[in-house]
Amino acid sequence: MSIDRNGKGKAKFDQLQAFIEEMRLEPGALMPVMQKAQEIFGYLPEEVQRFVAEGLGVTLSEVYGVATFYSQFVLEEQGEHVIGVCMGTACYVKGSQAILDRLAGELKVEVGKTTPDGKFTLNATRCLGCCGLAPVMMIGDEVFGRLTPDDIPGIVAKFR
């Protein structure tokens, strides 16, 4: 994906610019703007952070500081399917570590990383709040509950 603000990515930068204009006078606009930027670009590369800093008149270090503080902001491009295995307490006591280990083995990828083909990003996430379905994982927006490690290959196959 191009992140050149004058090249192919222009439409996206224009969209972000419009949002910055709208929010500029709001107190505490930085986080909503960064959330919008991530929604538009999928992640926050340096060029986008620089654009936000210029747009709101704050320093790049402030933007970078916020981007690295919150786990929701990502600085690297994510895979086509982002898998989040819930590591909340309820899921953990019901064996979500085994689910995560099985996924790491099945996809041959480390937790927190993306597969070389760009298909999957594997994350361990905070409590997803579906404790009644523990252990739980999400692929994109879809929730899979009451999992056993043996369910994993079948579910992953649907997204390959």
Partner: protein
């Protein structure tokens, strides 16, 4: 307004949505249409009913028939039998809903609800959260109207004070006192904030209130604003809660449309408006000063207190910050009076508390109980006990700031002070049940791993101290524990509690301290005997094959992913311990129960 003879309430909370309730709503509407009942029966997508374990849940009124674990295949039968012919499909009801005389129990007679008292959750599962009219029909915004037209701001505070309501976020500070401080503070501008950054793993009460009854929070924030003299509010909500965010947005829009938010509310000259701010995944933002930094668009690092938010909060102005569940009680207190609220609960903990019951328990879900109910009643009477005939080991409350409550304390009264006394805390309401298979040292490690990851890094006791504790715990579960480790943990814990800047650091050692208090023998077994009594810690386990039972079928050696099992077919096999990764696949697949784990 149209009148319907029957209502089909389908749970639209996150748990039931995850198990397919959206599709059920579509199928019900389709089926009801085909049966020509669309003018007689209405399908309502409600908030959480609480019994997530049995989801998706469908309740049909006026009978109050409680259908559990409904699948798309069941919908047609319910439409044809129940809605068309009036015959309840008893086979699909929750298991204890049918009485011996074959009649069905009303909702509050079902075991799960019998001991509950729903105040904060009163509208969850009753109203359609996306329609303000339904909230208003259940006395919604009546408390706001009463306060604005009949009460002075100070009177509102006096009622909240007299009710004895304490903060439901976990620390239990008296809500009315907090409001009084902020009212007394001098400032040209004041703010009202709502902490909906529910970060405790295993806690989802606040989300269920926002999803099931968003107007209750909005009304309470308007009441708080009137009481302290604010005209602007912020709800800080986790971005991980998309359904809650969407319903809040809808609710705020409707409230503005009805003139219940904005300028000159109910023609009384009172102005108040609300905005939503999304969190971005930082546990520390549940701490009040960190949350305010985050609303200001900064890194969510806590600030030293004093000054307290009541004097210098958001954007440096006097600010009241309360948790979602605290707000969910306010309108009822104003309407029914302080005495009504204070009649529930114990001497120092009034009212009810919502818990998210999870882990090794039969009825996972959301329960609201009067303060003073015992843990035993929650686990066995409401929660239905431990699945699989296993033994109860501990209940964890208070998340990463709390502790584990052992069997010996099962009769503890659930209130702020009793829980502190036994080394745990109320917390925001997560309650995770553990059985004999859970290792308490590993649970302590799990929580420290969480805290280390979520420590903001501002103060050294938390940033460095929790990491040192985690390193020791990791060594212990890996079988490399040494003499003196327990003492080191205790010293570190004491110092971190005394020196950390904010609540996150000050409470971070609690999971270790409480497990040391009640499960010291497990720590000792790991350190001195290199043994995990629960059979959980992989490094301390050994899988062996019983020669007598082994038939030499070779299945295990074919399944072993690392080639650690060898032997001769039709004779006995053995496991090479140096290669074994302790995945347990062999034991699971052995048809002769010849493999055991120690």
């Amino acid at each position: 307004m149209d009148l319907y003879r029957s209502h089909v309430m389908v749970c639209g909370g996150t748990g039931c949505t995850s198990s397919g309730s959206v599709e059920l709503i579509r199928l019900f509407e389709e089926g009801i249409g085909q049966a020509g009942l669309e003018k007689e029966v209405r399908v309502v997508r409600t908030g959480c009913f609480g019994l997530c374990e049995m989801g998706p849940i469908v309740i049909v009124y006026p009978e109050g028939a409680f259908y559990a674990r409904i699948t798309p295949e069941n919908v047609d039968e319910i439409v044809q039998e129940h809605l068309l012919k009036g015959r309840i499909v008893k086979r699909l009801l929750v298991s204890d809903a049918v009485k011996e005389d074959d009649t069905i129990k009303s909702l509050d007679e079902v075991d799960f609800y019998k001991k509950q008292k729903r105040v904060a959750l009163r509208n969850c599962g009753v109203v359609d959260p996306e329609r303000i009219d339904e909230y208003i029909a259940f006395d919604g915004y009546k408390a706001l109207a009463k306060a604005l037209t009949e009460m002075q701001p100070q009177e509102v505070i006096d009622v909240v004070k007299a009710s004895g309501l304490r903060g439901r976020g976990g620390a239990g500070f008296p809500t009315g006192t907090k409001w009084q401080f902020t009212r007394n503070a001098v400032g040209d501008k004041k703010y009202v904030c709502c902490n909906a950054d529910e970060g405790d793993p295993g806690a989802f009460m606040d989300r269920s209130v926002l999803e099931g009854d968003p107007h209750a929070v909005i009304e309470a924030m308007a009441l708080a604003a009137y009481a302290i003299g604010a005209d602007q509010g912020y709800i800080y909500v986790r971005a991980e809660y998309p359904i809650a965010v969407k319903r809040l947005q809808i609710a705020i829009g409707q409230a503005r449309e009805y003139g219940l938010l904005g300028k000159n509310i109910l023609d009384t000259g009172f102005d108040f408006d609300l905005d939503i701010r999304l969190g971005a995944g930082a546990f520390v933002c549940g701490e009040e000063t960190a949350l305010m930094n985050s609303i200001e668009g900064k890194r969510g690092e806590p600030r030293p207190r004093p000054p307290f938010p009541a004097n210098k909060g958001l954007f440096g102005k006097p600010t009241v910050l309360n948790n979602v569940e605290t707000y969910a009680n306010i309108a009822q207190i104003i309407l029914n009076g302080a005495d009504w609220f204070a009649s529930m609960g114990t001497e120092k903990s009034k009212g009810t508390k919502v818990f998210a019951l999870g882990g090794k328990i039969n009825n996972t879900g959301l329960v609201e109980i009067p303060m003073g109910t015992t843990l035993r009643e929650i686990i066995y009477d409401i929660g239905g006990g431990i699945p699989g005939g296993k033994a109860f080991k501990a209940a964890q409350t208070g998340g990463p700031s709390g502790g584990c409550i052992p069997v010996s304390c099962l009769d503890v009264s659930i209130d702020y002070d009793s829980l502190i006394e036994i080394g745990s805390m109320m917390g925001s309401g997560g309650m995770i049940v553990m059985d004999e298979d859970n290792c308490m040292v590993d649970i302590a490690r799990f929580f420290l791993d969480f805290t280390v990851d979520e420590s903001c890094g501002k103060c050294p006791p938390c940033r460095i101290g929790t990491r040192r504790m985690l390193e020791i715990l990791e060594r212990i579960v890996e079988g490399k524990g040494e003499e003196g480790d327990i003492e080191k943990l205790e010293t570190l814990a004491k110092n971190i509690k005394a020196a950390a800047l904010c609540g996150l650091g000050q409470t971070a050692p609690n999971p270790v301290l409480s497990t040391l208090q009640y499960f010291r023998d497990e720590y000792e077994a790991h350190i001195y005997e290199k043994r995990c009594p629960a059979g959980h810690c992989k490094s301390l386990l050994q899988y062996t094959i019983d020669e007598e039972k082994c038939t030499g079928c070779s299945l295990c050696s074919r399944i072993c992913p690392v080639g650690a099992i060898s032997g001769e077919v039709r004779k006995s096999f053995t496991i090479d311990q140096s290669k074994c990764i302790k995945c347990g696949a062999c034991m699971e697949k052995c048809r002769f129960a010849a493999i055991s784990r120690k």
